[in-house]
Symmetry: C2
Subunit: 241 residues, 2 copies
Amino acid sequence: MHSIFRDSSIPRNVQLADLFRQRIARGIWPLGHKLPSLEELVREFDVARVTVRQAMNRLAREGLVSPQQGRGTMVTGGAATDRWLNVQTTLDDLHKVYLDTKPELTNLGESVAMPQLTAIDGTPAPEYRLLRRLHQRDGVPYCVISIYLDNRIFNRAPQRFRNEIVISVLRTMRSVKVARARQTLTINAADVEVASHLQIPVNSPTAEVRRVFNDPAGTIIYLAEVTYRGDFIRLEMNLRV
Amino acid sequence: MHSIFRDSSIPRNVQLADLFRQRIARGIWPLGHKLPSLEELVREFDVARVTVRQAMNRLAREGLVSPQQGRGTMVTGGAATDRWLNVQTTLDDLHKVYLDTKPELTNLGESVAMPQLTAIDGTPAPEYRLLRRLHQRDGVPYCVISIYLDNRIFNRAPQRFRNEIVISVLRTMRSVKVARARQTLTINAADVEVASHLQIPVNSPTAEVRRVFNDPAGTIIYLAEVTYRGDFIRLEMNLRV
DNA sequence: TAGTGGTCTAGACCACTAG
DNA sequence: TAGTGGTCTAGACCACTAG
């Protein structure tokens, strides 16, 4: 076996991560599939286990793979585009913001509906429960949200999902595993309906957040479309040097 | 020496990171100061070096500390707020977006001026060069930017700074070390001047980005205020599970 | 040249998953 | 129970910084 590490000035874990990224991009490790185990990769590349893990950690931070203790590591994403800035955070941090904000919920309607999906979102569930609601803080409305929740999951605790923060409820259900979570933020202007709910003028700036959770099999179990008042959004970005 | 690790169900590197975070929050390790070396921390807590590094990596990702090979690890930040979502990316990624976007630059003016600063931004440089410019892509203007650059740095390559992407020039200067970089994104509406530059209607949605770079001593060497057309902004956020 | 962070090895034990 | 990821140890060598 000859070593694949040609450039000793680049750390092995970075070279490994690059190589793994290539395998994912080229479909050698297709989306949704299980990667070889750490042990196998250790043997294939003749490096220490820790080095493989460092490489995997990189890919996990990029959202390409999702390691799961006891199960294996799944491919959960494709290549990132360079046109937009890709940023990282954690589901925990997102949840903390919800806890800290302590929103008051107003229901705007409930139905069964299918969301608009694209191929990269994942595999659709058979049926979704659509929950529309308004979030307020100290009586001031700051976002309207449409949540599409896999109806099989909704039916396990309908009352809780209707009255609590959906992400909080999902986190307490041990049978629900979120393997991948991501969201996209864009900037928009309020239409008449949104403006009326948020009590802002039509055409005021808003932020649109589209959030998707997949389970380990790639099924889209949660999809939310959130429209925030623009002045409620503030993103602190730490740029690692 | 008795072990400080009481809860064996929480990984030691996480407990260590929590403890370090406390020391920073309480001012035992004040902002701008150098932390004990990894060796010293290994002895103090009687853990493996790798474990201390894992903990430091966490804090570095949060922007609290900035490890510098050969120099030591500096405290570069305070506690994060829970009200806003904190996200992470890298200076490299930000730079890649600039390279990929290949902006055409139009100068809107140059002067010597002081930016509006707050205490947490860092220590001001004695004097700043203010460069105002418009970025276009394929002839379409998409942002106006005001760059305050430490005049001592500007004077090393005035022509390059005037005609190239400032971040690119900074990266090529080996004598310039960026120890900390961060930016804040908020949402706004275009005023008359911005609307005219960006060729959009007054009150159209915009994104405001305020970006600050500090050198290892905490001096603010670069501060940029960027106003983007709202429809040009799209943030992909990966939420680690 | 001494001090410091960055990476890597080889091996160990644990926690979790799924049959 | 076998397979898999998560964490940790003890020690080594390297790259970079600053006097």
